[in-house]
């Protein structure tokens, strides 16, 4: 059982990563990864929300009418996101300003619906919690990798601090403005998928 739980938790972090394997949550991965800070905050918020939503839906799973299950899942997610957003506004105002629109974007994150539908509807609350945290962290990991590259090459900074020294600029180095555009995030996610598939050959499509 312990091994199984470890697998539920560990698999989605890299081997069965929601972003690079299931290709879920790409839209927000493009939107928030121009800088590291929002990427990390978004990654953590999604982790919290997907874990909570997984537990709630898993507890309700036997009572949910089959025909409106997607709606029920959506209501659970939307309610949780709204509550988290309200609580942040009251107790961590700076974080909520930092998150601004992204917190609303969590509702539309496909990872949530994907995990609720594929996992929480069939499994108990404990496994669902682990699955939610695992998937959230997997998503956060990809966000952080993409944001690291984009902020470093796009603005020459990390967490807002200048890391590329001034003399580089004096010798003709330029920040790559392309990196700050969303398409580059897609290309970077593509590169990560490439590395991932090189490691796990059985996932390659013929």
């Amino acid at each position: 059982m312990a091994n199984k739980n470890k697998e539920i938790f560990g698999q989605p972090v890299w081997v069965n990563n929601p972003v690079v394997v299931q290709i879920l949550g790409i839209c927000s991965a493009l939107a928030v990864t121009a800088q590291l800070k929002p990427a990390i905050v978004m990654g953590l918020s999604v982790t919290v929300i997907v874990a909570l939503a997984n537990v709630v839906v898993s507890l309700l799973r036997k009572t949910i009418p089959n025909r409106i299950r997607i709606i029920v899942q959506l209501v659970v997610v939307a309610a949780l996101v709204t509550i988290v957003s309200e609580v942040l506004k009251a107790f961590a105002y700076d974080v909520s300003v930092q998150l601004s629109v992204y917190i609303g974007l969590i509702i539309t994150n496909c990872i949530l619906m994907g995990r609720l539908e594929a996992f929480a509807m069939q499994n108990g609350p404990k496994e669902s919690l682990l699955d939610g945290i695992g998937n959230g962290l997997g998503y956060a990991a990809i966000l952080i990798i993409v944001a690291f590259v984009r902020e470093l090459l796009g603005s020459g900074t990390l967490f807002g601090f200048q890391v590329i020294p001034q003399w580089c600029y004096e010798h003709g180095y330029l920040n790559n403005g392309m990196m700050l555009m969303s398409p580059m995030a897609l290309i970077l996610v593509g590169c990560i998928i490439w590395v991932h598939r090189a490691q796990f050959k059985d996932l390659q499509e013929k």
């Binding site: 029920v72 209501v75 506004k89 107790f91 796009g154």
Partner: protein, 266 residues
């Protein structure tokens, strides 16, 4: 309820008893074709679905109302605190201990501009955080501040960037012309590009610039690197043309409404 029900999957015949019959009396199918009919709530029935949805919506609605209501006061306090902070940022006070105390000791009062440019002081209870609707309804706020003995005026501004609202505060020297400091913020500009309006280095470009030229508001935010030496042009943001233009029209639109104040002496 002692007996169970078994339904024939072939013809739909329902048999009552402890176990499935060997042969279906209607279609002669074997016992393996029978399945137990579940007792209890049928989660697929229409009534269950409708009731479930209704109950769920009511519960969620009450939960949200409860959460929002119980946190409202704290949220409002945070918003006021944040507005204080933004106003102080425009005075180049970026580090502060207690926000409310710093605000009280720096800002002398919140005023409304009358049509002739004179000011009417508002009481502390009238402190407001929604300057966009205030501006639209013609209530033109001006804050009077005292920084190390010098009088400063702060004007809240708001406008549109590329994706959403941008807003800020412009602090003027006593001559009602030279910019002492600015603060801008945004709702959803692109991080790293338009989002840079919220950064200190951009806001400091405005310091020392003048807003009035021959009695009219004329301060332009131009393409980066094109600001000529002078006091009426400010470098915009690289890669964020529309946001820069938004800042430009925000400043000109809002500040123009304050012309009577700039040109008056009262």
């Amino acid at each position: 309820m002692a007996t169970k029900e078994f339904k024939c999957k072939v013809c739909g015949y329902v048999h009552k008893g402890d176990k499935a019959p060997d042969i279906c009396p209607v279609c002669k199918a074997g016992a393996s074709e029978f399945e137990a009919v579940k007792k209890g709530l049928d989660t697929n029935s229409n009534i269950y679905t409708v009731v479930y949805a209704a109950v769920m919506v009511v519960i969620v609605a009450f939960l949200l109302v409860f959460v929002s209501d119980s946190l409202k006061e704290r949220q409002q306090a945070n918003i006021i605190q944040d507005t204080y902070k933004q106003i102080l940022y425009s005075l180049n006070i970026r580090e502060m201990g207690n926000v409310a105390e710093t605000y009280k000791s720096t800002i002398e009062g919140d005023y409304l501009m009358n049509a002739d440019g004179s000011l009417k002081q508002l009481s502390n209870d009238e402190f407001c955080t929604k300057y966009k609707s205030e501006f639209k309804s013609g209530r033109l706020h001006i804050f009077k501040a005292n920084v190390d003995g010098a009088v400063k005026y702060i004007i809240p501004v708001n406008g549109l960037g590329l994706w959403g609202e941008i807003w800020g505060y412009v602090a003027l020297n006593e001559d009602r012309n030279t910019i002492y400091g600015t603060y801008f913020s945004h709702a959803s500009e692109t991080p790293g590009l338009g989002g840079e309006v919220g950064t200190q280095y951009f806001q400091e470009r405005f310091i020392g610039k003048q807003i009035l030229q021959n009695g009219n508001v004329n301060l332009s935010v131009v393409k980066f690197g094109q600001a000529k030496d002078g006091v009426y042009e400010v470098d915009g943001l690289t890669g964020a043309t529309i946001t820069s233009k938004g800042v430009n029209s925000m400043l000109n639109d809002v500040l123009s409404a304050y012309k009577p104040f700039f040109n008056g002496n009262n």
